[in-house]
C-alpha cells in the first residue's frame, strides 16, 4: 500500500494532522513509536488553551496561538470533549510588572483578542480572594481555556481512525529513504511508502529530519515539572493564574483543570536527554514556591502526584512548519508552547502547504462523528445516570472511586484501543484521583485481562518493559 501521507509522531500535533487529513479522500498513515498516542510530550501538557495574547507577533507561535484558540472552541464541540473557558489572570506582583501587563494587552488587542482588561488590585481581590495580597494589578483575559490534552489526542485519533486513518503504533522510525517520487519510512515493524511525510516527531523531529537528509535544526528538550493537587482545593481559583512571564518561561501557573483538580507548574529547565522526565526535589519545590507566590493558600500536603514533561524547543525558538529541500518531506517541528493551543491551526496550515505542494485535497462526502467521550457518567444528572444504567448495568458499577469512572467507561476505553493501564487511565481518568489507583488499578487490570483474554502478568503500564505484576513461580508464566 502506498500512502498519500505518512505522519511521523502521534502527539497532539500528529493527531490533529491525522484528524484534518482524514476529512479528505486520502490514504493517511500515523506512525508512533509508543504503544499509544499522546504518551510523550502531550501527556504531560498542562492543558491550557492560551488566550491569544501571549506570543509575539511575527512569529509562527504568535500567529497560530490565537487562531488555534478559536478553533479549539469549535473542535471540542465537534469531538465531544471538554473545553472550559476559564479565563486567565496575569498578575503584576510589583509596579514594575504593570507595563508588562500593558504590553501583553496591546499585543492581544492588536491581534483582535477580545475582552483583555486591566484590573486593579481590588477587582482582583474581589474576584479571587485567594490570590496573594502582594499583587498590585492583573490582566484579565476571558479567552483562555482549559482542555484535557490526552483526551484531545484520543478524540482526534479515534475520529481519524473512524474515518480511515491507518495506524502503526509501537513502530519506532529507524530510517527514511527517498525513492523516485515517494518516500519509504522504515520502522522496526516494517516499511511504509508514502508520497508525503509529515515530521511531527516532537522531541525527535531533528533526528527524523536528519534521516530524510534535511537535518537542518536541533531540538533541545526543556523540562517542565508539574504538581497535581487534591480536589479538596477545587474552587481556590476560578481562572488560570499567571505570573508576569519571563523570556524563558511563562512562569509557574495555577491551573483549575477541566476535572476539578488544581495543577501547578511547569518549571523550565534545559536538559540534554530526550527521555529525562524525572521529577526532582528542587523542581517540585520551585513549582510549589512559584504557585504559593501567587496563591498562598496552596499547601504541599495537597500534592497527589508529581510529573515532568519535555518541551521540544527548536533552534530559533519558533515553530518550524514547512517544506524542505527534500520534496514531500514537511516539518512540523519545534512545537513548544503554545503548541497545544496552536495544534488545530498548525494542522490547517499544513493542509494548505500540502495543497500547495500538489496534493489534491478532495473533501469526503461523509465524515463519521463519534459519540461524545465527554459524556462522563459521573458528570451526568441522576436521571441521565439512571437511564444509562437501565440500558447497561455496567454504567452504575463504579471502578474508579476517586473520579467515579464506571465499568462501562473502562470497557469502552479498552475497546477504543486502551491496551495498557495508562491507556485506560488517560482515556477515562481512572487512577488519576487522590488514591492514585490504589482502589482501581487491579480492577482495571482485571477488566483489561478479561477483555484481551490474557493473564494479569502480561499487562503493562504503558507498553515496552513496563510490566505490572508477575506470575507466581509455581505457575507457568
Amino acid at each position: 500500500m502506498r500512502y498519500d501521507v505518512a505522519i511521523v509522531g502521534g502527539g497532539v500535533v500528529g493527531c490533529a494532522l491525522a484528524y484534518a487529513l482524514t476529512r479528505y479522500q486520502l490514504n493517511t498513515l500515523l506512525i508512533e513509536k509508543a504503544c499509544d498516542v499522546g504518551f510523550g510530550t502531550s501527556k504531560a501538557n498542562s492543558g491550557v488553551i492560551h488566550g491569544g495574547h501571549h506570543s509575539r507577533a511575527g512569529t509562527l507561535r504568535g500567529d497560530l496561538e490565537w487562531a488555534g484558540n478559536r478553533q479549539w472552541l469549535l473542535l471540542c464541540r465537534d469531538l465531544g470533549i471538554g473545553f472550559r473557558q476559564v479565563g486567565e489572570l496575569m498578575l503584576a506582583l510589583s509596579d514594575a510588572d504593570v507595563p508588562v501587563l500593558e504590553e501583553y494587552k496591546r499585543q492581544g488587542d492588536a491581534r483582535g483578542v477580545p475582552g483583555l482588561t486591566l484590573w486593579d488590585r481590588q477587582q482582583v481581590r474581589d474576584d479571587t480572594p485567594s490570590i496573594t495580597e502582594d499583587m498590585v494589578a492583573a490582566l484579565y483575559a476571558p479567552t483562555t481555556a482549559v482542555i484535557n490534552p490526552y483526551e484531545a489526542c484520543f478524540a482526534l485519533f479515534d475520529h481519524a481512525r473512524a474515518n480511515g486513518l491507518r495506524v502503526a503504533l509501537d513502530h519506532a522510525v529507524t530510517g527514511i529513504a527517498a525513492v523516485q517520487d515517494s518516500w519509504v519510512v522504515q520502522t522496526q515493524g516494517g516499511d511504509f511508502e508514502a508520497d508525503f511525510v509529515l515530521n511531527a516527531a516532537g522531541l525527535y523531529a531533528d533526528e527524523v529530519a536528519a534521516m530524510a537528509g534535511v537535518g537542518t535544526f536541533d531540538i533541545h528538550p526543556r523540562k517542565g515539572e508539574e504538581l497535581l493537587l487534591d480536589k479538596r482545593l477545587e474552587g481556590i481559583v476560578r481562572h488560570i493564574i499567571f505570573p508576569c512571564p519571563t523570556p524563558i518561561s511563562k512562569g509557574i501557573l495555577v491551573i483549575p483543570t477541566l476535572d476539578g483538580t488544581i495543577m501547578i507548574g511547569p518549571s523550565a529547565q534545559e536538559v540534554t536527554a530526550k527521555d529525562e522526565v524525572t521529577t526532582t526535589m528542587e523542581g517540585g519545590s520551585e513549582v510549589f514556591a512559584g504557585a504559593q507566590r501567587l496563591v498562598p493558600g496552596i499547601q504541599m500536603r495537597d500534592c497527589i502526584a508529581e510529573f515532568a514533561g519535555l518541551r521540544a524547543i527548536a533552534d530559533g525558538d519558533d515553530f518550524i512548519i514547512g517544506t524542505t529541500v527534500a520534496h514531500g518531506f514537511v516539518n512540523v517541528a519545534g512545537i513548544q508552547s503554545p503548541g497545544l493551543t496552536a495544534a488545530p491551526a498548525i494542522a490547517e496550515r499544513v493542509c494548505a502547504i500540502l495543497r500547495d505542494e500538489g496534493l489534491a485535497l478532495r473533501p469526503k462526502t461523509t465524515f463519521v462523528s463519534l459519540p461524545a467521550v465527554r459524556a462522563r457518567f459521573a458528570g451526568l444528572t441522576t436521571e441521565e445516570q439512571a437511564r444509562l444504567s437501565a440500558q447497561d448495568a455496567r454504567y452504575s458499577h463504579i471502578i474508579c472511586r476517586c473520579e467515579g469512572i464506571s465499568e462501562r467507561e473502562i470497557i469502552d476505553a479498552i475497546r477504543a484501543g486502551g491496551n495498557t493501564l495508562d491507556g485506560i487511565k488517560f482515556r477515562t481518568r481512572a487512577g488519576m484521583g487522590r488514591c492514585q489507583g490504589a482502589f482501581c488499578a487491579w480492577r482495571c487490570m482485571a477488566l483489561l485481562a478479561q477483555e484481551r483474554q490474557t493473564p494479569l502478568h502480561t499487562l503493562t503500564k504503558r507498553g515496552g518493559g513496563s510490566w505490572l505484576v508477575c506470575a507466581r513461580p509455581e505457575e507457568p508464566s
Binding site: 482485571a446 485481562a449 478479561q450 494479569l456 509455581e474
Partner: protein, 126 residues
C-alpha cells in the same frame, strides 16, 4: 565450661526489651533484660522452643478470588515454618470452601492441621 549469651527482642509491648539468655554447658543459668514477668517467660520460650503460627494462602480454582487464606491450627516449631509454607505451594483447593475446612491434615507430621480461614464461594477468580 562454655558460656553463651543469646539476645532476643521482646515482642510483648512497644518497650522492646533486649532480653538475654545465658547458658553454661547447655544449661540456662540466667535470663536478663526483661522488665515484666511476660518478658522473662517469652525469653525462655523463644530460647528453648520457638514456635510460629503459619498464615498463608493456597491456590483455589473456581473461587471468588484466586487465593484461599489458610492457617495452622496451632503454632509450629520455628524450624519447620518454611517447610510448612513449601508444602502448601502445590496445594490447589476447589470452591466452595468453608471456614475451618481442613486444607492439609497433620501437615508434615507436626500434629497440626492447616485450615481455611474464610468461606470462599464460587466465582471467576478475579
Amino acid at each position: 565450661m562454655t558460656s553463651t549469651i543469646t539476645t532476643y527482642l521482646c515482642i510483648g509491648c512497644p518497650l522492646g526489651c533486649r532480653l538475654e539468655v545465658e547458658e553454661e554447658d547447655a544449661q540456662i543459668v540466667a535470663v536478663r533484660g526483661f522488665s515484666c514477668k511476660r518478658g522473662e517467660e517469652y525469653a525462655l520460650q523463644e530460647h528453648t522452643d520457638p514456635r510460629r503460627m503459619v498464615t498463608t494462602t493456597v491456590a483455589i480454582t473456581n473461587g471468588r478470588w484466586a487465593r484461599l487464606p489458610v492457617k495452622t491450627t496451632a503454632a509450629v516449631p520455628k524450624e519447620h515454618e518454611r517447610a510448612v509454607y513449601a508444602a502448601l505451594r502445590s496445594v490447589v483447593m476447589r470452591a466452595p470452601i468453608r471456614l475451618g475446612d481442613v486444607v492439609v491434615g497433620n501437615i508434615r507430621g507436626l500434629g497440626v492441621d492447616v485450615v481455611a480461614t474464610r468461606d470462599m464461594s464460587e466465582g471467576d477468580g478475579v
